[in-house]
Symmetry: D2
Subunit: 338 residues, 4 copies
């Protein structure tokens, strides 16, 4: 960690600050510049927080050199983490996984019907929301536990592991029993109590990036889950909020190589939320594969215009099938399998 | 609601869509343009969701004309809501309120000492975090229940009502018993289960704007609380995330007149989180008062450089006092009292 | 265009407004809602400007239904525009083009050497900046006319058409004589005088997206060039400015299908500026190809760490060659040639 | 400047890099950390550019400690710069200036009529656009030279100095002869050729912040003007582009204390463009005064709904007068005069 002091910092203050770091077991190296003094701290700085140091009025600037995350850090864990979701392996050089299904579970018939369709198209897992985070209190809020049980029936029918969003820690038992991959949604990426709760689960977690989360904050949220005991985290990019209005969000594909360089965790892309428009799903999906994604999670509905939520960004099964065929070719082109 | 269809939409599809709206009790008016067909829906559209309609492949565009919120809407509730926080009135033409205190409660001594200081400076309420949302799992997470009890002691000592952040619904009873104004933090603004939970409380709620929430999404989150039975919501702007790096966030003061025009709820500004830098607190606070804010919430610590969190953005009591003196003059200049 | 009036708009004002539109040759259709009145304007609204209508105090909202651009609009020009750059065809179903070369021309030797290298790797055109837009007045500003002449020599040597950035209308003659594809940089995307000037040129233009330009503003800038007489515009995405700091900008690949749907112009991607980091160029380039880009423009330097500008985002020739080999495979996978 | 090397950087590379800095007259100090090596460069680093150093593959990170601007830097020029605009002083402890007038000059009658009105309301200068940067090529582009001559007549009538936007260097003579304060618009903030050109003028310059420019980039653009010989720069905040859609832009008032801390230049706020809505102008103007602005530039039109541009954000003279009266009181409250 590099700390820049104001040039006019009194010697006594500088000494006090130096001592405070040394007491934390850090070695302090000083550089005197023309207009500033700079300290370099050598040692384990992962428990120091930049903004706390900035509180000293003689400190001009603080810059972290080593990343604030340890467990997720590729530097200390060079080999890829492969997450096992009920037998389906995600990450590393494994087969690219395709997760398909409706935004919301709308009933046993609907989810079983769509589950069979996505399975026939070649999907590896089934997604479906039973608890739905909706901007409006007047919008459909999901079928709840009934929806979870419907997913279980769809799994029995097709064999596909199921992915569903957990919004509240009081449903942990339900998810532990019935869901194969527990999704933490973008709006809850920094719901730290929920992160700690899934950190104690014995189920893999799909952690979506918050809509205005930096890559570092996102990794720190994964670190929360890992630090609480659960190493099985899959990161999921779903677009970030920008000024552009033609798309619902802006998909940030640079995260794929960055996450792979800085962490050892698998990364999956959600082009449905990233774009909000079914016509954009195919090109964005192929782009994600080409950039090295470990998987895709895509909204599929057999009657998008009658869907209870997010129909605008749902693919019909026939388009989902075409997408998978094309995605296979792109995966081959970059030396991976799908 | 205005719905634009693609020019080449088949007549049968147009008829089907028209019928579907009429079945919901809406009146459908059509305008035929050169390149598009447009429908106007007349009636209560608050239960329609734009994106669901977009799912129809013949729909080009959907625009809401009336706001999606009802209970928070000034149109249906023209008089100002005045929220009563343990006797302190917030909103309307009431005295502007000042909420001061440390980021984190660090123990009984600290919070009682600072409470007395902010009280002597003229603050109306005491803030202090007992449960802390921290980006890093390795950072101080707050004293928890002990911190809440420390706040209670500070209240006994000074008479100041206490404000503290609730992060999880399982602490509702604790907050219902001990806290006067329940804060929902920026990171939980769309934690809808938590919003529903505080909607059932009999305590006023301070709802912070999410760091990338639009004004409309923020009002919709207030609507969640109100629709679940709690009308006592105070909105709090704390800066939004932008590309600028000199400040922690960008304070958006236009929200003050906008919130007052569109809703009847009080609005309070948090310049500490908006800027992240104590040197900017005073000018931003005076600006907020001049723009019509109903209150300020400011981080105050007697030893910022030793604070357990957010010292960089904490004012010392002497600077807090100066700020309040200046703020009184600005309040007078615009015809309000503080 | 759809115009929403306030419910309390006086009849006389509504009539006045209606008449003002009818005088412009538009047909006015009215819908009366519960809380609002809505007008639909039928006819050519491309000369109306939303914000001018909003100036009427009785107007609540204005929404454009048809796009504000005509010449660039796919609706009025369904077939793809193929731009010919000194014999190299860009757009439609043509071969995907690769433009490579250094950020700055640093002298005849350097540009000729790199030109030969990129040519051997398979590039179709040579890029090189002679006039450089630099944030600092103290940074290298480009070799100017000498740099242009050096590019000419590199073209003579390799046969590659040359692309270079024009920053000022007073250099038009120089560019008309020597440059094959005239680049308008992101910072000048709304330098309207410069757009008009290149609109009068008889050379194709590469129009970069401004770093905070919406897709619509970007197309409107193309419309400026086209409306002044030059139909040969190639659009170039180079990343937009967001809150994320790990990358220099955020590459927005959704623009590829959107530009192709809304306009008939070719689109090229610049992963070098989009990411600012040479390690990210390859995955982002492959993603762009997979999403349907008509070309790539990539910074290549044989000694990046000695480059006079932008070395951090420059590929070495050997990495550029690898990238092209992989890009060929991805292009094949989606049925295109490169 | 602080340079962080990768831990595995070969000794020979480190030595080469060290030597390259020493050859530039810099002193190089090294700190060896656990996972990284860090260099501190002591000396004049204003001619080094961070991104050029990053091009070295062994460099992990570069951080500038001293600001990249010299002439605008308060550190080297502690006293406030007072800019004289035809006798009106701007900056320091001078009277706060009010600049009012229409978006566009629409003819001699209109500008003379409005000039008299804003003069009677108490404005210090007259604004009016003769050359207009418009998003659409089909929108009114300004009266050009005729508009400049109309402004001259309005000045003769009222004595108010005139402010107008220069869009192209080929109009420099016209502006040098007739305009008192030369405005560089947001879209041209990084039109470096134009910045150099006004740097050679003998007239003060009003430099608007680009809509996605960081504070540092904005100051660097001022530095361009100053480095070319013109020290009379007034900075003008006009809102930045964010995700929020209720306002045209988001006004960033934190810039006022930041610009005053880091530079010695005056700063003026433009609430008209920052909000895009006349109803927001008054609260935002009072906020700007309270935060310490040296002036306001406000769009005023006597018939906003008939204005040829930007009517939606224009105040009527009577509202402008009320605003000035209120602004005087706020100015007094903070110890300044207006």
């Amino acid at each position: 960690m590099i700390i820049t002091l104001k040039k006019n910092a009194p010697a006594a203050e500088v000494e006090k600050l130096t001592k405070s770091f040394e007491e934390k077991g850090l070695q302090v190296n000083e550089i005197k510049g023309q207009d500033f003094n700079v300290f370099g701290l050598v040692g384990d700085t992962s428990r120091l927080y930049e903004r706390d140091i900035l509180a000293n009025m003689w400190v001009e600037n603080v810059q972290r050199v080593s990343a604030p995350y340890k467990l997720a850090n590729r530097m200390f864990h060079p080999e890829d983490t492969i997450v096992d979701v009920a037998g389906i392996k995600v990450g590393g050089h494994e087969k690219i996984v395709i997760i398909g299904g409706p935004c919301s579970v709308e009933g046993e018939d609907q989810i079983c019907r769509i589950a069979q369709e996505v399975s026939e198209c070649g999907a590896d897992m089934l997604r479906g929301g039973a608890y739905k985070p909706r901007t409006s209190p007047y919008a459909f809020q999901g079928l709840g536990y009934e929806g979870i049980l419907d997913l279980v029936k769809a799994r029995e029918l097709t064999g596909l592991p199921v992915v569903s969003e957990l919004m509240s820690a009081d449903k942990i038992d339900e998810f532990a029993e019935h869901v194969d991959l527990v999704q933490i949604g973008a709006r809850n990426m920094q719901n730290f109590d929920l992160l700690k709760a899934v950190g104690h689960m014995n189920k893999p977690v799909l952690l979506k990036r918050g809509m205005s989360a930096t890559i570092e904050e996102w990794i720190m949220s994964a670190e929360y889950i890992m630090a609480n005991g659960n190493p099985n985290v899959i990161l999921c990019e779903r677009g970030i909020r920008t000024f552009e209005k033609y798309t619902r969000n802006t998909m940030d594909l640079a995260v794929i190589p960055i996450i792979k360089e800085r962490t050892h965790l698998p990364i999956v892309i959600d082009p449905s939320h990233a774009s909000g428009d079914w016509k954009l799903i195919e090109p964005l999906s192929l782009a994600a594969i080409a950039a090295g994604a470990d998987g895709l999670i895509i909204e599929v509905h057999d009657h998008p215009s009658a869907a209870w939520s997010d129909g605008a960004q749902s693919l019909k099964p026939e388009n989902f099938q075409t997408l998978i065929q094309k995605a296979k070719l792109v995966a081959q082109a970059i030396g991976r399998e799908l």
